[in-house]
Amino acid sequence: MQPREFSLQAPLMFLITLGILLAVWQISSNMGWLPAYIVPSPLVVLAKLHETFGTMVGHALITVLEILLGFILATAGAIIFAVFVVFFRFVDRVAYPWLLVLQVIPKVALGPLLVLWLGFGFFPKVLLAFLLAFFPIMIATIIGLRSLDGNSINLMRSMGAGRWAIFRYMQLPASLPQIFGSLKVAITLAVVGALVGEFVGGNQGLGYVLVVANGNLDTALLFVSLVWISVIALAFYGLIAYVERLCVSWHVSFRDSLAALRA
């Protein structure tokens, strides 16, 4: 079985479909099928993008920082918490149910409360990004750490391994593929968290720009914000996928075992 090759085919296909989409869109606008106040043409959006670039960079930077901080805290916190859940029965029994309760509350609904408690600044956004990203990482890590078969543990114990060595040499590496999968989900949720935080209160960030543009019926600016958000989210996702490739290229999902099943 050959390792799956990295190929330029996928990005190329993306660019081609993007080109076609933009062309159809532009033509539709030119023909008057799409009113500009509902969907501005790509060229109008491009002009707006250029015009607002300076101010948007500032807003984007703030949102990026919120996402990054929320995501990093969520990753560290969720993995550490998962370790405690797996290794200490007490944590599993006492804290885990409360975490579930917290998870079933729609975090977005917490936005106004967070603003009330933490003000309009930077941190409620970070906290919301953190809250949304935390759960999937924690669940994946718990499942990953628990998926160790009995004889692997027996083998390690016969080598004199204690709890820590079993964790370091077996459980952690074995759960990395699952953890990376959850990170990919979590990063998109962290983006949502930061944006919703900015919707609710504050005067900077891409979410804030969205709210303002909406208020002014500035659809071109709305689209510009969307472009910024998509690019940022894609960049984060790509970064995680890259680190994943570096860390867990040994995993079966990188081997293209399913090649024979695909059309």
């Binding site: 079985m1 078969d149 004889n151 692997s152 027996n154 083998l155 390690m156 114990r157 016969s158 080598m159 004199g160 391994a161 060595a165 040499y169 077996m170 590496p173 074995a174 990395l176 867990v248 040994w250 995993h251 079966v252 081997r255």
Partner: protein
């Protein structure tokens, strides 16, 4: 139809050291569950294994041989009785031991060499020396050139060889194997038996093999401990007086067939 015993024991005596008790199983019993659901897995097991001896625990599924294996390795505390290794009572996982299971338990994130080296890393042995030794072992089992391959690139037999290298790396006194070749095809299995005999005879280790293959047990063992199920007991403790090194052809000799018949008859009656 046995050969004159004198001839065979003479061969065995020539290369044997003074007999020294290595592993002692004393009145071991094991029960699982409580009340109505209680199962007696082992009852009254007494067993003495000498240093350098190759002993097989043979029996059908459910006879408790794997349970006994776990108890000897210190991975399971017996309900009754105890185990002594080199005169010391076993109360925790025995570390002066290399273990191989039916699953090779190789990890995909390490290479062949890395998997063997896991033993050295966990035990915090000298990594440079261990590496040299690991490469030697890998070559000895015929996997030279595969050091940097990943487990998924190997066949089942090759994987199990790597697992055995891992069990041998730290030069412990005991080698314990629980059905190590159970998942392999018959041809590979014969070859693995030959290789294992070779490795074991050079190492001087005390070896315990759990198996349900009568032929494998006869081929490899100095002694076969035949176990009967429910509750697991020792039905027969049989010394195999075939000369070493044993060859595949020996499986067709009258002696070998005689042992086979004897064991099969006993397994059939239980």
């Amino acid at each position: 139809m046995m050969k004159p015993l004198a001839e065979l024991t003479a061969v065995a005596a020539a290369d044997s050291q003074p007999v020294q008790t290595h592993i002692q199983v004393k009145s071991v019993g094991q029960r699982f569950g409580i009340g109505n659901t209680m199962v007696t897995a082992l009852e009254d097991i007494d067993l003495t294994i000498n240093r350098g001896e190759f002993v097989s625990l043979l029996g059908p599924s459910g006879c408790g041989k794997s349970t006994l294996f776990m108890i000897i390795a210190g991975l399971l505390a017996p309900t009754l009785g105890y185990v002594e290794i080199a005169g010391k009572r076993v109360t925790r996982p025995v570390t002066d031991m290399g273990i191989a299971f039916q699953q090779d338990l190789l990890v995909d994130w390490r290479t062949v060499l890395g998997n063997v080296m896991l033993q050295a890393e966990v035990r915090k042995l000298d990594l440079e020396k261990s590496r040299t030794r690991a490469l030697g072992l890998i070559a000895q089992v015929g996997l030279a050139g595969f050091e940097d391959k990943r487990p998924w690139q190997l066949s089942g037999g090759m994987r199990q060889r790597v697992a055995i290298c891992r069990a041998l790396l730290h030069e412990s006194d005991i080698l314990m194997m629980d059905e190590p070749f159970g998942a392999l095809d018959a041809l590979t299995r014969d070859q693995m038996n030959l290789d294992l005999q070779d490795i074991w005879s050079r190492s001087g280790k005390t070896a315990i093999l759990v198996t349900h293959s009568i032929a494998e047990a006869i081929f490899l063992s100095d002694r076969i401990v035949l176990m009967s199920p429910r509750p697991g007991r020792i039905a027969l403790d049989l010394r195999i007086e075939l000369p070493r090194p044993r060859t595949v052809d020996m499986k067709d000799t009258p002696d070998f067939i005689q042992y086979q018949k004897q064991l099969r008859a006993l397994i059939g009656t239980h």
